[in-house]
Subunit: 234 residues, 2 copies
DNA sequence: CGCTATTTTGACCACGTTCAACCGCTGTGG
DNA sequence: CCACAGCGGTTGAACGTGGTCAAAATAGCG
């Protein structure tokens, strides 16, 4: 489904790589950009497909995951408003490296490859912003690798919850509500564990009064205890 | 130790991000660049230290690793001639994200942060080359994460040997020699396993006639069998 | 030749996976 | 209206990979 979004008034513009750009350039962007509307479970692009361009989330949430030959999935990132998708594949000249699936109804703007690259050439400030994003992504990925190598599932889960708290947390009378609904499967794919272990760990956390759940959303009751779990084994 | 390397005749120039640059620009680079000589075990920079600039390997080999709070290390990458170090930290504005340690006597050129960034602004073709490198790095890191999550240590070792074969392999009468000497510890840190498992797996590979060793260097005798091991469990 | 660092082997243990059964809910069709 | 299939979630039991700990063997080096 189509619909035209104006970059200048896009809710994402303040959070996106385009935030620093002068209004004039944003208007140029609007010309080459198309906005699509996605429902939950829709796929924005598939791993292995040619990289057609880049995507910017104007509204909604998207999970990015890779799939093994055996069909197992690892969620690399859960992206919200302002996130840019598909740029690494584009710059490396490879096919899409992961699948992007909508997990909360979304408006996503698409910039065709050549148009975007041309625009990038004329905007060194944008190029630097993209470099910065990509660098942060690399660094985070290396940290995830370290976590996966050395930290227990319990600790990875604690850290994931804290990370989601940072991205999607909303203060609440009781605690901090994670404003996205993930299935156990998704959560386990995000921490690199099986669903069973994730379930067990979550119920441990509940029994310890660290978290609770309300209509499919996790509520963090004791952030400090979570933070303690995410710290070396005292 | 200091010594001035000329970029235009640098053995790395063909393999580096600077390869596409016109000779004139290379001469400009020479002006702002300093070359240092390193011996094995010397540290180029430490994780956590401020990012001072970028480094380009003109000769030798360097391992890049991150360290956990408990002191365990994970090797992210082993870089040879032409590799660029320290750019992700620089672009993200963060401190160095890993430690770079020389594992084979090296000549490494240093470009100071502001000088490099200024140069980058004037060279959009270089900026694109850097974007491309960084993208490949991100993609590889994500693949490593997938491997660490789902693949057995045996398989990760097989893949690592094949990867090293690609980067440092030299054809030999008997097979392909990996032209770098890694300790068992380093190899295990590179695949995210303990030294003991790595030792056991290596001796398995030897007994199966897949590899052998000559003066601290691994010789791959049966690349095809290694490739088979690196493939889903048939 | 003795001392240290690296490698190898063995025994044991634990985390987390696998497999299987089961629960609770929702939607669908007889 | 109930039966039942289907799905997400939960729990239990058994197993296995790989980590830990300890000790021996080997290699490197002053």
């Amino acid at each position: 489904m189509k619909c035209k979004m104006e970059c200048t008034i896009c809710p994402a513009s303040s959070a996106s790589v385009f935030s620093g750009l002068p209004e004039e350039k944003l208007r140029q962007l609007e010309q080459v950009q198309t906005t699509n509307v996605y429902k939950k479970h829709q796929i924005v692009f598939y791993e292995g497909n040619p990289a057609l361009g880049i995507y910017c989330i104007s509204e909604g949430k998207v999970k990015l995951y890779k799939t093994t030959e055996e069909g197992k999935q690892r969620i690399l990132k859960i992206s919200g408003v302002g996130a840019l998708l598909g740029y690494a594949s584009l710059f490396s000249g490879q096919n899409e490296q992961y699948t992007a699936e909508v997990i909360e109804d979304a408006h996503i703007c698409f910039l065709e490859k050549n148009g975007f690259l041309a625009f990038l050439k004329k905007s060194p400030e944008l190029a630097m912003a993209v470099l910065s994003r990509l660098s942060v992504e690399t660094i985070k990925s290396h940290e995830q690798l370290l976590d996966q190598t050395f930290k227990s599932a319990r600790r990875r889960l604690a850290e994931m919850l804290l990370s989601l708290r940072g991205s999607f947390g909303q203060k609440d009378k009781k605690g901090v509500r994670l404003n996205l609904s993930l299935t156990r499967d998704e959560l386990s794919q995000a921490i690199g564990a099986t669903m069973e272990t994730t379930v067990r760990l979550l119920s441990e956390f509940k029994q310890e009064g660290i978290i609770t759940e309300e209509d499919h959303k996790i509520l963090i009751l004791k952030s400090d205890e979570l933070a303690a779990l995410a710290t070396p084994a005292f």
